[in-house]
């Protein structure tokens, strides 16, 4: 396993569990008639956002590379930092007792175990940890909110914001953290101050701060198009030879050998369509808000994917919608090119791949435009989608105590605190093997990588001990592509849609038609029909509503 769970790796795990792709969707539907649209770039929010004070406590082996505004690659670590720097002096808590609820995709550790006890001692509070089954989380939480019985501290992942009606919870059941964190107030919590501003924005509703971010990143992309670097290298093909959609299609032809059971492609749509200059969802054209469904470019992108599906270069199992085995097909060399979240590029992928083929090496194409002209524009998703919240019923001193605890939990990668949070006590829960903290039996039983880090965690880093090639490849690819990343319209803005708009926003019928098209079952014209129906049955109203209530009032947020 990887030494730490960075944000995107986590997302790729949960995506397979809950069947959600970690797309940078920015809209969240909210319940009730409360039609508040809450923008993240209102002037009031700008003054509420915390100051950003990067931490220099621990130096990365491969430094982060800055791109445009709010864009930055994740730093890389080839070894686990050996000098355990403590970033928090003293004990943060004052002896309070609090209940926490976080989703967990894994075995629930026993209550009051040795790891929890060690953490409570270090934190100076008693956190009553209640991890809940991640697969049922979206249905567990609404029962608590309906009864107005939220725990003191809870993780509410943003991809479920609409399930949780988060826009309505903010300020009614969740505490406003603005007075404690805005501007220079955050300097009281240096590890929280080191989290990027965008991450705080993604936890803001209205002009107030609510969410405490975990696993934030400045390189937030939905994913990219990967290829089997070992196979392509052997054929003398390099990534930068592919400069357009045509190049990719030709490569597909060259690589496909159906008789030999090899098809060039697995599904690529989700991460390829931006090559046609299609936005994640919204675009502003001459001051007018445009939905991607209204764009010719989307149809062009679909046309190419329809051709791909009917060309015979796309694996039949992908056409049959079998996504769960996409990894196996890729490892076994039955497919050579496929889309995936950035989280796919990690140590466990490397281990699975090399188990199937010792030469296995993952690579990714640099972003290109479909026609091969100009620079690609890749729109970023939210800075984080993992946010925790405090209960509104907590007293100010209790909130301060928990923020001090959050500050401890957000200690940077490799610090003394980070090591305790992620690996437990040395000698009890882990031992150092070749410089890498390695779990003991006690550690395997009690230390789950996603309990405390789901309350607060530092920004993502890339670290794959024992798989240096992964860290080097991934950081190099990020550095080469950081220049293409842009903030999309409504970036990091939380928008509560009225319930009547939520169905149009989800646009299930159009998304179904799109899927049928890129699997070669429906020509583009039928997607066009579905879009026409969508527009008349709520789509146009949605666009108008977004234009009037969000764009005109709050701007683009870019």
């Amino acid at each position: 396993m990887g030494i730490e769970l960075n944000r995107r790796r986590f997302l790729s795990t949960t995506a397979s569990v809950v069947g959600l792709t970690a797309m940078g969707g920015l809209l969240s539907a909210c319940g009730g008639g409360a039609q508040q649209a809450t923008g993240a770039n209102s002037d009031a929010l700008k003054s509420a956002l915390p100051s950003y004070v990067p931490s220099n406590a621990i130096k990365a082996d491969i430094a982060a590379v800055a791109g445009g505004p709010d864009v930055m690659t994740d730093p890389g670590f080839l070894t686990y930092p050996s000098n355990r720097i403590a970033t928090v002096s003293g004990i943060p808590g004052k002896g309070g007792r609090y209940t926490t609820v976080t989703p967990l995709w894994g075995t629930i550790p026993p209550a009051d175990n040795s790891f929890y006890q060690a953490m409570n001692k270090a934190l100076g509070v008693t956190l009553d940890m209640k991890p809940a089954d991640g697969n049922n989380y979206a249905t567990i939480v609404p029962t608590m909110t309906a009864a107005k019985k939220l725990p003191d501290w809870i993780q509410l992942p943003a991809w479920w914001s609409s399930n949780f009606s988060l826009g309505e919870l903010a300020g009614t059941q969740l505490a406003d953290l603005t007075p404690y964190l805005s501007g220079d107030n955050i300097k009281k919590y240096p590890n929280l101050a080191a989290l990027p501003t965008g991450a705080w924005q993604s936890g803001a509703w209205g002009d107030k701060l609510y969410g405490i971010p975990s696993f934030s990143t400045g390189f937030s992309i939905a994913g990219t198009t990967f290829f089997r670097r070992d196979v392509l290298d052997a054929k003398g093909i390099t990534a930068d030879q592919v400069k357009s959609a045509d190049d990719l299609m030709n490569l597909g032809k060259e690589l496909t050998d159906a008789k030999g059971g090899v098809w060039a492609f697995d599904d690529v749509w989700t991460y390829m369509f931006p090559a046609w200059n299609v936005p994640l969802k919204w675009k502003v054209d001459n001051g007018k808000l445009v939905h991607k469904y209204e764009m010719e470019e989307l149809l062009d992108a679909l046309d190419w994917h329809y051709k791909l599906a009917t060309s015979g270069y796309l694996h039949p199992d992908a056409i049959a919608g079998d996504n769960t085995n996409a990894g196996v097909r890729f490892y076994s060399g039955k497919t050579l090119i496929g889309g995936g979240g950035g989280g796919a590029w990690n140590l466990s992928d490397h281990q699975s791949g090399t188990a199937a083929n010792p030469n296995y090496r993952r690579g990714a194409f640099n972003f290109f435009t479909a026609d091969g002209k100009g620079d690609a524009v890749i729109e970023m998703g939210a800075s984080t989608r993992i946010l925790s919240y405090l209960n509104i019923n907590l007293k100010p001193e209790q909130i301060e105590e928990l923020l001090a605890v959050a500050n401890y939990l957000a200690a940077p990668f490799g610090s003394a605190e980070y090591t305790l949070i992620n690996f437990g006590v040395e000698g009890v829960h882990h031992t150092m093997v070749n410089g890498v903290p390695t779990a003991t039996e006690e550690g395997k039983k009690n230390v789950q990588a996603t309990t405390y880090p789901f309350l607060a965690a530092p920004s993502a880093v890339i670290s794959n001990p024992g798989g240096d090639v992964v860290t080097k490849d991934y950081t190099a690819w990020q550095a080469a592509n950081v220049k293409y990343l842009r903030k999309p319209v409504f970036w990091n803005m939380n928008i509560s849609l009225p319930r009547s708009m939520a169905t149009a926003d989800a646009a299930q019928a159009v998304e179904d038609a799109i899927k049928d098209c890129y699997h070669g079952k429906k020509p583009v014209s039928e997607v066009k029909d579905a879009i026409t129906t969508w527009k008349s049955s709520g789509g146009d109203k949605l666009i108008q509503w977004m234009d009037e209530n969000v764009l005109q009032k709050y701007g683009t947020g870019q």
Partner: protein, 316 residues
């Protein structure tokens, strides 16, 4: 096991007072309490949730505080072409399954009943039961591995330069695919109830008819089939009552393979266009519509059974 012509005890007890019957049957009644409780908790209490079909349900404020919208959800539903498409698919699938699937377990049971070696019979039975215990995910994976575009059959065809056969992703033949999957998975299990009916037939009848010179087919026609008629009718009534329930997972899993237009049935419709998009009330409306029609169907089928002089769900 009682024989078919035994007078049921319920008839005789009609003359006793309720108190006496309660006392006499108290152990039996006690034994049914857990099942009844289960039914109450998981089938009757959730009926309360049907209220949401008449609301714009918001989970945050709960059922009591959600806005009442009357029949609005049903109005949207009946104007939704996707809903009618799913209903059409459901009815079509149900009809095809009734014609192709329903007779198979009966035939299998008769066939199995004619096998004399008990050992062989048990073996066949066990093999036939086995797929029932597979989940749909596994069953469909097996089909995909065998008949998929990259499966055993097509790779064989490909390696012999024969054109491939699109079985798993062809929307036009999807109905045959799902029916054959259902037969493979469930036909073996469904024979149990028919075997039980066969076992209940008095063997003396066969002996005396054989003595009278009746051949194999005559015995089948005049003894076996009439002996099974009650059970067949009961199963048919249940099948008709469940005509709008053709399965969920099987379609959910294969929805991407053939597209939503071929694969959406009422249950997946309620899931994708209701629950998955947080439009709970819409899903509830679709579900309620299905339940009402199902109730009418089961009532009608039961009437029909009684008209034919059979028991149906209960004895008239």
């Amino acid at each position: 096991m009682s024989t078919v012509d035994t007078e049921p005890p319920a008839r005789k007890s009609g003359r006793l007072s309720l108190r006496v019957r309660l006392r006499r049957d108290r152990s039996l009644l006690l034994m049914t309490v857990p099942a009844v409780a289960l039914l109450l908790v998981f089938n009757y209490v959730p009926l309360f949730g049907l209220l949401t079909a008449f609301q714009d349900y918001n989970p945050l404020v709960g059922v009591w505080n959600s806005e009442w919208v009357g029949f609005d959800q049903f109005e949207y539903l009946f104007n939704d072409s996707l809903f009618w498409g799913s209903l059409g698919n459901t009815l079509y699938l149900s009809f095809v399954q009734l014609v192709l699937f329903f007779p198979i377990p009966i035939a299998l049971a008769l066939l199995l009943n004619s096998v004399l070696s008990e050992r062989l019979r048990n073996l066949i039975q066990s093999i036939a039961y086995l797929p029932h215990f597979f989940s749909w995910v596994l069953a469909i994976t097996i089909f995909q591995q065998m008949f998929g575009g990259a499966g055993l059959l097509n790779q064989f065809l490909r390696s012999n330069d024969i054109s491939t056969w699109d079985i798993m992703t062809n929307p036009d033949t999807f109905v045959l695919l799902v029916t054959s999957q259902a037969i493979w998975k469930e036909a073996g299990w469904s024979i149990i109830v028919f075997l039980a009916a066969l076992a209940a037939i008095n063997t003396d009848l066969y002996e005396s008819s054989a003595v009278d010179g009746a051949g194999r087919w005559r015995r089948l026609w005049h003894i076996t089939l009439p002996g099974m008629a009650g059970v067949i009718m009961l199963m048919l009534v249940l099948r008709l009552g469940n005509a709008l329930t053709v399965g969920f997972e099987q379609f959910l899993i294969q929805r991407e393979a053939v597209g939503h237009e071929a694969a959406d049935v009422l249950d997946t419709f309620a899931f994708y266009y209701g629950i998955a998009t947080n439009n709970y009330s819409y899903g509830a409306a679709a579900g309620l519509f299905k339940s009402v029609i199902s109730l009418l169907l089961i009532w009608g089928a039961n009437k029909l059974a009684h008209a034919f002089g059979e028991d149906g769900l209960y004895r008239k």
